[in-house]
C-alpha cells in the first residue's frame, strides 16, 4: 500500500451545492514529490483540506502509512506527521520567527512560562539543518514573502512533519525565490520527506515532481509519471475536451463601443510585477467579449476596476464615451453599468437581508415619496422580478435561505432590471448546476441580442468558447492572447495561453513606477 492512500473521497458543500470532490482516489508514494494540478475549482484545495483535517469527507477512506486514519482537525494531522503550507500564510506579523514557529507547541519553563531561549535554540537548529537563511529573532513582518514561506516550512519541520503539503507555493514568489524553494524541496526529499505540491503551473510540475494527479470538476482525470508526459498533454488533461454548451449565439453586427479600457494598470510598491499591466479592451454594443484566465492572473482586478471598487494606478476607462476612471460604483451605475460580481454571496447579495431589500439596493431612491420608502411599490417590484426570473423565493424571505442558483437569479434580476446598455458578468456560473447555468447563458445572450455590450470574465473555458464573440486571455496581469471566436479556435489553444505556454504580447513592464501601497 502506498504512503498516503485516499479512496472514494467525496465532499459536498451543502450551502453552495458544489460537489467539490467526487469519488476521488489519490495515492502518494513515500519520498516522492507528487503534484496535484487542475484549474480553479477542480477540487485540489478541498482534497488537501481533507488530508490536513480542515474539513471532513462525506464519504471515502484515508490511509496513512498503511493505517486507516480519521483526521478530525489540523492537530490530529500534525500528530500524524502531516504538515501544510497554505497559499495565504498563517503567521503573526508582530511575533518573531521563533515565536511563530513554536506557537501552539511552545517549550515550557516550569510547566507554565514559555521558554524563549530553548525556542530560539530549537528553531535555529531546524533552520541550520536545512540551510535556511532566516534569523529566528526577527519579526515576521520585516521578512520578505519568500522568507515568510520558509518560516511556514520550518514550522512544519519543527513539528516533525513527514508529509508536507504545499498549496500553490510559488504564486507569491519572485523567480529567484522560486529557485530557492525548489532547492529546499530537493533538500527535503533527500532527507526522506514526502511532498504534495498543489499548483496550476506546468513548468513546476515537469521540473519538480515525480508523479502528477490531474483533477477536473471534482474528479481525478489522470495520474501519470511526470517523465511520461509533456506540458501540452497536461494542459489538455486539465481543461478537458470541448463541451458543446447548448446555446444559440447567432451572428450579430457589432455597434459602437460601450466600454473601453485604455492602458489600465494596477501596480503596487514592493511587488515584482503589476497586478494589471496595460490592459486595452473594447466592448461594442451587441457584442459579447470574454476574458479568460486562471484565477490570480488579474481577473479579479479587472472586475474591481470596471465595477468602480478599485481605482487603477494608471490608464483610463470610458463608458459610452464618457471618461469614468475616477467614478465610484454608485456614479458608474448612474452612467449605466450593470454588474454581476463573482463573489455573489458577499458582494452581490446581503444574505441576512430580505429578498426585497436585496432587490432594491441599487435603486431604492426610486421608491421614495417624501423621504419614505413606499412599501407597496417595493413589494410589487420584487414580485415582478421573482415572477419574470422564476426565482424560487418569497419576497420577505432572507436571501440566505435561497439556494445558490436562486441567489444568482435574484442578482441577475436586479442587475438586468436597470436596462443598462453595458453589463459585466464575473464567474456567473461558478458552482451553479446545469439548469441555472443555462438560464444565466440565455439571459446573457438576450442582453447581447437587444444590443447591449456584455463582458464575461470567466475561468470556465467552455462557457467562454460557447458565448463570446471575441476572447482575451489574461496571464500574470497581461493580455497574452486576443482572438475572434471562430470555428477553428479550440480549447487547447486558449488553455495554452492561460497557462503561459503561448504569449502574443510584447514584453512585460519591468519597472514598477508607482508609489501606491496595495493591501
Amino acid at each position: 500500500m502506498a504512503y498516503l492512500e485516499m479512496h472514494g473521497i467525496t465532499k459536498l458543500y451543502p450551502t453552495s451545492g458544489v460537489l467539490a470532490n467526487d469519488a476521488v482516489d489519490l495515492s502518494v508514494e513515500e519520498n516522492e514529490i507528487h503534484a496535484v494540478i487542475g484549474e480553479n475549482g477542480a477540487g485540489k484545495s478541498t482534497l488537501m483540506k481533507l488530508v490536513y483535517g480542515l474539513e471532513q469527507p462525506d464519504a471515502g477512506e484515508i490511509h496513512f502509512r498503511s493505517e486507516k486514519v480519521e483526521i478530525r482537525d489540523p492537530l490530529a494531522a500534525t500528530r500524524l506527521g502531516i504538515g501544510m503550507v497554505h497559499q495565504h500564510f498563517k503567521l503573526v506579523p508582530d511575533f518573531t520567527v521563533a515565536e511563530n514557529v513554536v506557537l501552539g507547541s511552545e517549550p515550557r519553563k516550569r510547566g507554565l512560562l514559555m521558554d524563549r531561549r530553548t525556542a530560539v535554540k530549537d528553531v535555529n537548529k531546524v533552520i541550520e539543518e536545512h540551510g535556511f537563511s532566516i534569523d529566528p529573532k526577527r519579526k515576521v513582518k520585516d521578512l520578505t514573502v519568500g522568507q515568510m514561506q520558509q518560516v511556514e516550512i520550518v514550522k512544519m519541520l519543527y513539528r516533525n512533519a513527514e508529509l508536507l503539503i504545499l498549496d500553490e507555493p510559488t504564486s507569491v514568489l519572485t523567480e529567484q525565490e522560486i529557485e530557492r524553494l525548489f532547492e529546499t524541496l530537493g533538500n527535503l526529499l533527500e532527507r526522506g520527506k514526502t511532498i504534495i505540491l498543489i499548483t496550476h503551473k506546468l513548468d513546476e510540475v515537469t521540473r519538480m515532481s515525480h508523479r502528477v494527479t490531474v483533477m477536473r470538476g471534482g474528479k481525478v482525470v489522470a495520474v501519470r509519471d511526470t517523465r511520461d508526459v509533456d506540458k501540452r498533454e497536461l494542459s489538455r488533461l486539465m481543461v478537458g475536451k470541448d463541451i458543446l454548451l447548448e446555446v444559440n449565439r447567432g451572428p450579430k453586427p457589432r455597434g459602437e463601443p460601450v466600454l473601453e479600457l485604455k492602458d489600465i494598470s494596477i501596480s503596487c510598491r514592493g511587488q515584482e510585477r503589476p497586478l494589471l499591466d496595460r490592459i486595452n479592451l473594447q466592448v461594442h454594443s451587441g457584442e459579447l467579449v470574454g476574458i479568460a484566465g486562471v484565477g490570480g492572473n488579474g481577473l479579479a482586478e479587472i472586475e474591481d476596476v470596471i465595477g468602480g471598487l478599485r481605482r487603477p494606478t494608471s490608464g483610463r476607462m470610458f463608458l459610452y464615451g464618457q471618461d469614468v476612471t475616477s467614478l465610484g460604483p454608485g456614479q458608474l451605475r448612474d452612467v449605466g453599468l450593470a454588474y454581476v460580481p463573482a463573489d455573489r454571496l458577499h458582494r452581490g447579495a446581503s444574505l441576512p437581508s430580505s429578498v426585497r431589500e436585496n432587490c432594491i439596493v441599487t435603486r431604492h431612491h426610486d421608491f421614495l415619496r417624501a423621504g419614505v420608502l413606499q412599501r407597496r411599490g417595493i413589494r410589487e417590484f420584487t414580485k415582478r422580478l421573482i415572477d419574470h426570473f422564476s426565482i424560487d423565493a418569497g419576497e420577505g424571505m432572507p436571501a440566505g435561505n435561497l439556494s445558490g442558483g436562486n441567489i444568482q437569479k435574484m442578482i441577475l434580476a436586479r442587475e438586468l432590471a436597470s436596462q443598462s446598455d453595458f453589463i459585466l458578468f464575473s464567474e456567473p456560473t461558478w458552482g451553479l448546476d446545469i439548469a441555472s447555468s443555462q438560464f444565466v447563458y440565455e439571459k446573457m445572450l438576450e442582453m447581447r441580442g437587444r444590443g447591449a455590450g456584455v463582458l464575461l470574465i470567466s475561468s470556465n473555458l467552455d462557457e467562454i468558447l460557447a458565448l463570446a464573440d471575441a476572447i482575451l486571455v489574461l496571464y500574470r496581469g497581461r493580455v497574452v492572447g486576443r482572438m475572434a471566436n471562430t470555428e477553428r479556435l479550440s480549447k487547447e489553444v486558449i488553455g495554452e495561453y492561460m497557462l503561459g505556454l503561448r504569449d502574443d504580447s510584447e514584453s512585460p513592464s519591468e519597472t514598477v513606477t508607482s508609489e501606491v501601497q496595495c493591501g
Partner: protein, 350 residues
C-alpha cells in the same frame, strides 16, 4: 409574519423570561444569605418601586435618559459603527445645556430650552462624529477613539464644573441652578417624573420608523449588515461611518440635556455618570430594536429603583444592592449577546 418568525420570537421571549427568572432566584439567594431581615429586603427589592407614587415616578423618570442613550447605541450598532464614548457625550450634553440656560437667563422657557437641547445634541454629535470621521479618513478603531475622546472630555468637564463654573453659593460640586422657566414640567408629584417621558417614547417610535422606512435608515442598515455589498451597490459607505456615529452622539447629548432640564436643574459633577455604559446594556437587551429600547430602559430603571428601596427599608447595603443588580444584568446581557452571536452564526452556516 410567518409561523416560523412567531416561533422564533416566542422562543427568544421565553428564553429571556427564563434568564430573568434565574437571575432573580440568585438575587433572592444572595439576600437570604447576607441579610438579617431577608423578607423585607426581598419585598422591597422586587416590589418596592410599585409601593408608592414617589418610587414609581422616580423609576419612570430614571428610564428617560436611558431610553435616549439606548437609542443612540442601537442606531450605531445597527450600522456596524461603535460608540463607546457615551459617557463623555452625555456629560458634555449636560454641561452645554446648563451653560446655555445660565448664559441666557432671560429667554422665554421654550426658546431657551430648545436652544439648550439643540446645543447638547450638537456637542454630542460632534464628539462621536469625530470618531466617525477618523475612521472614514484613517481607518482608526472607533471603539478606541470614541472611548479616548470621551475619557478626556469627562476630565475637562470635571475641571470646569468644579473650577471656573462652580457655584460659590453652593457647597456641592456643581454649577449654578438654571432659571425656573427652562425646567421641564413635573407631571407626577411628588416624584421627579417630568413631561419628557412622552418625548422619549415618541422619539423611540420615530427612530424605529427612520431606520425601517426611510432610505437613510435603509442605507445605514445595509452598511451595517454588509459593507462590501453596500459599496458594490453604490451606497456611499464612507458617509455611513460618520452619520450613525453623529446620530448616536446626538442621542447621548440629548440624554445629558434631559437629565439637567428635567431632574437636576444644574450640572453636578458626574451628573450623567453611568448613562453611557448603561445605554449599551439597554441596547443589547433590546437587540438594537428602537421600540424594544423602551421596555429595556424601564427594566434597568426598575432594578435600580428596587435596589434603592431595599437599601432604605431593609439592611441591604449599597454593595449588596449593586451586586444583586449586577448579577441580573450580567445574565440578561449575556443572554442577549448569546442570541446575537447565535443568529450571526446561523446566518453564516445556512
Amino acid at each position: 409574519m410567518d409561523r416560523k418568525r412567531i416561533a422564533n420570537l416566542l422562543s427568544s421571549t421565553t428564553g429571556l423570561a427564563l434568564t430573568v427568572g434565574i437571575s432573580f432566584a440568585i438575587v433572592v439567594l444572595l439576600i437570604l444569605v447576607l441579610s438579617e431581615q431577608p423578607g423585607t429586603a426581598i419585598y422591597y427589592f422586587f416590589v418596592g418601586p410599585f409601593t408608592n407614587a414617589y418610587y414609581f415616578g422616580n423609576m419612570l423618570n430614571q428610564a428617560i435618559p436611558l431610553i435616549f442613550t439606548g437609542l443612540g447605541i442601537a442606531v450605531a450598532f445597527r450600522s456596524s459603527t461603535f460608540n463607546l464614548g457615551g459617557e463623555g457625550q452625555a456629560y458634555s450634553g449636560a454641561l452645554v445645556a446648563t451653560v446655555i440656560c445660565l448664559a441666557l437667563p432671560t429667554l422665554p422657557g421654550f426658546v431657551g430650552g430648545t436652544a439648550a437641547i439643540i446645543g447638547a445634541i450638537l456637542i454630542g454629535a460632534f464628539l462621536a462624529g469625530l470618531s466617525g470621521f477618523f475612521r472614514m479618513r484613517w481607518e482608526t478603531d472607533q471603539l478606541i477613539s470614541s472611548f479616548l475622546v470621551s475619557s478626556a472630555v469627562i476630565l475637562i468637564i470635571n475641571f470646569l464644573v468644579t473650577g471656573p463654573l462652580d457655584d460659590p453659593a453652593n457647597s456641592m460640586l456643581t454649577t449654578a441652578r438654571i432659571a425656573q422657566q427652562f425646567q421641564f414640567l413635573k407631571i407626577y408629584r411628588p416624584s421627579k417624573l417630568d413631561a419628557s417621558i412622552f418625548f422619549a417614547v415618541a422619539i423611540a417610535i420615530g427612530t424605529y420608523f427612520f431606520m425601517q422606512r426611510t432610505h437613510w435608515g435603509y442605507e445605514m442598515r445595509m452598511c451595517g449588515i454588509n459593507r462590501e455589498f453596500s459599496k458594490y451597490a453604490g451606497i456611499n459607505v464612507g458617509k455611513y461611518l460618520l452619520v450613525p456615529m453623529a446620530i448616536s452622539g446626538g442621542f447621548h447629548g440629548l440624554a445629558g440635556a434631559v437629565t439637567v432640564l428635567g431632574t437636576h436643574y444644574r450640572c453636578l459633577k458626574g451628573v450623567t455618570a453611568g448613562l453611557g455604559w448603561n445605554g449599551i446594556a439597554v441596547a443589547l437587551i433590546a437587540k438594537n430594536n428602537p421600540i424594544a429600547v423602551i421596555p429595556a430602559a424601564l427594566f434597568f430603571a426598575y432594578l435600580d429603583a428596587g435596589a434603592k428601596a431595599a437599601m432604605l427599608h431593609a439592611d441591604v447595603t449599597f454593595e449588596l444592592a449593586k451586586i444583586a443588580q449586577a448579577v441580573i444584568f450580567f445574565l440578561v446581557t449575556a443572554q442577549a449577546l448569546y442570541g446575537l452571536f447565535n443568529s450571526r452564526k446561523k446566518k453564516v452556516t445556512t
